[in-house]
């Protein structure tokens, strides 16, 4: 968390978003009236059961998808098409397999029409910030999952977005790698010289949300509404063994399971966080990467 106390300008206003999808039997309502704010210096996590439209919500925020009704405002202006001030990190990494790491990181900069010299300098900076030095000319398929997601992160940070959107960024990684990368993302976030000004993280992992976010938006089962907006004031670095952490976990867990009929996958995500923070704090080993776990949440 950065120390600009008192400055709480609202960056993003999500106002009564509804989203329907056409289906065989009329339309299906995915999101049914979701509102929340993301302020400057906010790290917001959006959690909810699988299939509740969290990822769709994120896409609507950037303007990749249009809501059926409602409005997203960025710095007071409605988002009507893809917003250039935001950048997304994807669950599946979404790197172009035929571009080198360098070219992948430059992807958004080329689109913004930067000069080659500026692109080079910027790419070098974010490659070193994300710990990818030495892999510039490699191709994504030659990297482990953890390293690939660093590329995804570098690509997003390189365009220096005001808001970083992260769509389940750690759920295709194994538990240890995810732990390490989470820690690094928090370090980058704490660095006042680096973008972004705010982060919106979508996850189904309650513990992940509690470890990272200042504010947790809890969505219900589909069609989703906001069950609660929970501020997290635990001191950083957060100790997941503390009583306060336990209490909050329990609270969020019961909120999600009781708000949703049937057992949600959020409960299953709990044991993943039982590794001690120290174990995963170091640099990520690129070699040990189990296959990405399939995740149907969308």
């Amino acid at each position: 968390m950065r120390n600009n106390d008192g400055d709480t300008m609202t960056l993003i206003e999500v106002q009564d978003i509804k989203k329907d999808y056409p289906s065989h039997h009329g339309t299906i309502s995915i999101i049914n009236g979701v509102s929340f704010d993301v302020a400057d210096n906010d790290f917001v996590a959006i959690i909810g059961p699988s299939g509740c439209g969290k990822s769709t919500m994120l896409r609507i925020i950037q303007g990749l998808e249009r809501p059926t009704s409602g409005e997203v405002r960025f710095r007071g202006k409605p988002v009507l098409s893809t917003c250039n001030e935001m950048a997304m990190v994807f669950q599946s990494f979404a790197l172009l397999p035929w571009l080198t790491i360098k070219e992948n990181v430059a992807f958004g900069l080329v689109a913004r029409g930067w000069t080659p010299e500026k692109i080079n300098a910027q790419v070098d900076r974010y490659i070193s910030v994300t710990g990818l030095v030495g892999f510039e000319e490699a191709y994504p398929r030659e990297l482990s999952g953890g390293m690939r997601q660093r590329v995804g992160l570098a690509r997003a940070l390189a365009v220096e977005p005001a808001v970083l959107l992260m769509d389940e960024p750690f759920s295709a990684l194994d538990a240890l790698t995810a732990e390490g990368l989470r820690e690094e993302v928090l370090q980058l976030w704490r660095d006042p010289d680096l973008p972004p000004e705010a982060v919106a993280l979508v996850t189904h992992n309650i513990e992940e949300a509690l470890l990272m976010a200042d504010k947790i938006v809890v969505l219900s089962h589909r069609p989703s509404r906001v069950l609660a907006v929970v501020p997290v004031t635990l001191p950083r670095p957060r100790d997941r063994k503390s009583d306060a952490f336990y209490e909050l976990t329990d609270y969020l867990y019961s909120l999600i399971t009781e708000g949703a009929p049937g057992p949600g996958p959020a409960g299953k995500a709990l044991p993943e966080g039982t590794a001690t923070p120290a174990a995963g704090a170091g640099p990520v080993a690129p070699a040990d990467d189990p296959p990405p776990t399939p995740d149907a949440s969308g």
């Binding site: 950037q62 990749l64 893809t82 979404a94 070219e103 992807f107 080329v110 994504p140 398929r141």
Partner: protein, 582 residues
């Protein structure tokens, strides 16, 4: 990560053509003085160069065409609804039959006219397949890559260069292999057809082979086959395999690195461009058959019944087809009577002989279909056990598969002169034509069956073994159902190839005065023909009887479209529905 060819395989790939050549030399040995063909190599190479240039020009045209057509079909919904069904019809009609039309269109341009016609034909044999490659790869760009491009605001030139074009490269390379294989087939066939009229000359490897066979010049025949096979093999080793390795970069990686299977899979595929290419062919059938719906399909569904009501009695089914058949034959006669009347009045009176020929078309069509069925059966009887053997005997496959691939890469038409005029005429024309036809069909079946058998999930096999299922029940419950979709795809593509092959397998003629490249002027009257629709098309062209040609071509096209729409499409959809794994 990329595995190179083992020395043994590489040696085999090089030694293969030499082996075939030696075999051919031995076969023709007594008459030709064993190594006499060496003398003919330069001449054969000279003629081959004409053909090669035509291939390159046609390929360049196909490449440009496929990128533009595929792009529009994939990115514009309205265009897609029109372009894809057109493509589906185009790819299913036997384009060889249209070659005389192309000649008629281009012939007015002296010298290059006939070449243009030939290039046009080769183009039509190459392009559709590549268009499907471009279309499908653009359609199947993973959603997250699209979203990432949108999210970072990538559009215009950058999108084309960094996203869209790279996405097409992998399939384009493999479909190119297929296009070249098909292209050689049609190139040679076009030269045959042109040769049937003495006024038209299309110099190239095909006409060289035909003249050599017609004149009984065995050494020239061997020389021609050697240079052709050598060129195809060199292209495979020097162009397609390296290109295939390069194209691996443009593949989407769905498995994480470090996975042993993922590391080996690309290498395995790279070593077999042709096998990989056939997978592309299967996809093309799938796209054509599933995406492209024509009004006729609903008729087919009516005839065969919907996928959900499977238990329809055979008698009811046969009855429906019989009714449908009668309607079709009746409408054919109606159509032809009207057509002949209009043609006679407005264009040219049709002579009694030609009229008789036109009346006989349903009969010719029936005998051609009978021949196709015979050739298909023959191909299946050979291809199925061969594919089974090479799947279950990995060690035999290491040597056997590369050999089969070399043999399969030789265009079937190139060995027609050898078979017709030198080896097999003794066994009778009917049997000869069936053998010719099956050479044009067997590889589609073989490679599809092979990939079908190889892609049976190992755990399915293990489950069968674990429960002690073997013998008859194993074949009925595991192998045959698992292979069924590949079998149907193979059958469809084999029949597609068969319709084209018909045209040259029922009629081959060498013009009356032959100037052998290396000998004196000899006079021969060599026409080989069996009654059938393909023969009628070629004879119509050779004897300058436009009415017969047009009627026969029309009948062929209608027959192909009807069989595809009414038989294969419904069958295919059911096969896919019932037997897919996922």
């Amino acid at each position: 990560m990329m595995k190179q060819l083992s020395p043994m395989r590489r040696g085999l790939v090089v030694a293969g053509p030499a082996l075939i050549a030696a075999g051919a030399a031995l076969l023709l040995g007594p008459g030709t003085g064993n190594w006499g063909f060496l003398r003919d190599l330069p001449q054969a190479t000279y003629y081959l160069s004409f053909s090669f240039v035509r291939m390159i020009v046609a390929y360049a045209l196909s490449l440009g065409f496929s990128l533009v057509y595929g792009y529009f079909a994939a990115t514009n919904r309205g265009a897609e609804r029109v372009l894809i069904p057109i493509l589906d019809i185009l790819q299913s009609v036997p384009i060889l039959g249209f070659f005389p039309v192309a000649i008629a269109v281009f012939i007015s341009i002296p010298y290059i006219g006939i070449n243009l016609a030939s290039i046009f034909l080769i183009f039509t044999s190459m392009a559709w397949n590549m268009v499907f490659g471009v279309y499908e790869s653009l359609k199947s760009i993973p959603g997250d890559l699209r979203e990432a491009s949108d999210s970072f605001g990538v559009r215009g030139w950058q999108r084309l260069r960094q996203v869209l074009i790279p996405a097409t490269i992998n399939r384009l390379v493999y479909n190119s292999v297929l296009s070249w294989t098909g292209g050689w087939f049609f190139l040679v066939a076009a030269e045959f057809i042109a040769s049937s009229r003495s006024t038209v000359a299309l110099p190239g490897i095909g006409s060289y082979l035909l003249y050599a066979a017609g004149a009984g010049n065995g050494s020239a025949l061997v020389a021609g086959l050697i240079v052709l096979i050598a060129l195809i093999t060199v292209l495979d080793l020097a162009v397609w395999r390296p290109l295939g390795r390069w194209a691996e970069k443009y593949r989407y990686d769905t498995t994480p690195s470090g996975d042993a299977d993922a590391a080996n899979a690309p290498a395995r595929r790279v070593t077999a461009p042709l096998r990989r290419a056939v997978a592309g062919l299967a996809r093309r059938v799938r796209t054509g058959f599933i995406t492209a719906s024509t009004p006729l399909v609903s008729l087919g569904t009516f005839a065969l019944g919907r996928g959900t009501t499977r238990r329809r009695s055979f008698a009811a089914l046969a009855g429906r087809y019989l009714a449908l058949g009668s309607i079709l034959i009746f409408s054919w006669y109606l159509l032809i009577t009207a057509g002949v009347a209009i043609y006679s009045i407005y264009i040219h009176p049709i002579g009694a002989f030609a009229l008789a020929q036109i009346r006989m078309i349903p009969y010719d069509l029936a005998s051609s279909i009978g021949r196709l069925i015979a050739a298909y059966t023959l191909s299946l009887v050979i291809a199925f056990p061969l594919a089974y053997f090479l799947t279950h005997r990995p060690r035999a496959a290491r040597i056997g598969l590369p050999l089969v691939e070399i043999v399969a890469s030789v265009p079937a038409t190139a060995i027609f002169p050898l078979i017709v005029f030198v080896v097999v005429l003794d066994i009778g024309r009917q049997a000869t034509s069936v053998i010719l036809l099956s050479t044009g069909m067997i590889w589609y079946l073989f490679f599809n069956l092979l990939s079908g058998m190889r892609s049976i999930p190992p755990d399915l096999d293990e489950a069968a073994r674990s429960f002690g299922v073997k013998g008859g029940p194993y074949y009925r419950k595991v192998l045959l159902p698992a292979v069924f979709p590949a079998f149907i795809t193979g059958s469809i593509t084999a029949l597609g190839g068969g319709w084209n092959t018909l045209i040259v397998a029922e009629y081959l003629s060498v013009s009356k005065t032959v100037q052998m490249p290396t000998g004196p002027v000899t006079t021969t009257h060599v026409v080989y023909q069996v009654p059938g629709i393909g023969q009628l098309i070629q004879a119509g062209f050779a004897e300058n009887s436009a009415a017969v040609y047009v009627a026969a071509l029309l009948a062929l096209v209608v027959a192909v479209v009807v069989v595809n729409e009414l038989l294969w499409k419904p069958l295919y959809r059911r096969a896919i529905e019932k037997y897919k794994y996922d």
